[in-house]
Amino acid sequence: MAFVKKRIILYYAPNVVDEPIVYKLVTEYKMVPNIIRANISPEKEGSLVIELSGEHGDFEKSLDYLRCLGIRITPFGERVLWDEKICTQCGACTGVCPSGALTMLRPQMKIAFDAEKCVVCDMCLPACPVKAVRLDV
């Protein structure tokens, strides 16, 4: 059996936040989870960047379990790029960014992008009216 170790991002709807996901990954799917970054609050949408290691078959089953819960999974190899030259500094992206990666510098009201804080949830992509943010895969 092949052994896998992968970093993925889980994107939660508010109704899934109560589910003991990490516990089940360990006990039912024999995964060894390493939480890289988490942004989860009760009754709110959340995102979790997690490294899972274990047997390949168990890893695939654990992904199926997560998908069944309605959790969106994206590989962490992706990153969001922000192009300041295209950006109109409108700020629409800052209203949907859950991790504080896209913020407004006040009082200038200019956009700042902190790639370190980005969890690649992709929420900013549909929010930007001029496609100044894009996904680099």
Partner: protein, 392 residues
Amino acid sequence: MASEKTYEEINAKIKKGKAVVVTAEEIIGIAKEVGLKKAAEKVDVVTTGTFGIMCSSGAFLNFGHTKPKMKMSRVWLNDVAAYGGLAAVDAYLGATEVREGDPLNNIHPGEFAYGGGHVLEDLVAGKTIKMRATAYGTDCYPSRKFEKLLTINDLRDAVLYSPRNCYQNYNVGVNLTSKTIYTYMGILRPRMANANYSGAGQLSPLINDPYYKTIGIGTRIFLGGGSGFVAGPGTQHAPNEPRNEKGIPLGGAGTLAVTGDLKQMNPQWLRGVSVTGYGTSLMIGIGVPIPILNEEILEYTTIEDKDIQAPLIDYGAAYPNAESGNLGYVNFEQLKSGSFEYQGKQVKTAPLSGYPRALEIAETLKQWILHSSFYLGQPSQTLPSVEGKEEK
């Protein structure tokens, strides 16, 4: 009686390079420092600016006559339909017209990748546009089909004419339902998780002259990076909106119809936009100079964000169902701070129009006037307004 200035006097000072011009942001501090009376004597023009999505935008285009001649009844530019129900080679291209074949909202929320706003931006940027037209043919206009690759330089005329731009104030969009909605006010998350607003607050053109005492038909303005004019009140112009004690309307209220030569404009200030789940539109930069004719007009320009309230509107149910009323008011100081409290809960705010760009417009207009390359246009008729300074 404080001294009064005329348009002619201010224009004479602009010509000599002696006019005192400041932005609507700078005037706040100046008036606090020297007082309203002195500020009104010293300052000649206050410049304003706004840069946001304005859907009622578009342009009249004239393609020049073909040989043989043609009465173009249907016209497309990069597969975006323009209205051809005008004389032979005239058409009107609207910002929200979506490219033919777009999947629209069939897979919701639609992306709306390209539309009229994008064509306008591409034209102004000098890009090549694929134009095609059809006609039924007449004795005087026999041609029935025409196709051409063209740039803005090939157009005989290209005139931006927007029936409604530059709303005086606007709604703050929220969503009280339990699912995310995709609106022209952006993405609104459930249970009022976020609030989106539009407008430049204390820099906004019509906020700085709330009763339109200096703005009307013929007011010369910064428009899309060139100079244009106020053509008249915009559609839905509603001066009777309730106002606060400073005269600021507590909702949309005033609007402008604007026009200008598209060939003078700059793609930096005319951007095609795709609003997910809603459609395409145009982000446009507008700056209006306010001539300081007297102390009263100056006082209006000293308006601050904290004194501008915008109504909170539920775009989940109330707005689409045309229900009147609102959920309360939020001022621009709160909106710009990033969050406000509503019923014990912090609501995250985000703007949809770029404040730094609005400031750049006000600053650019100021420089144009200081360098005698822009003169005030005296309105032949100011916009319809309401009597009296205060309702309360």
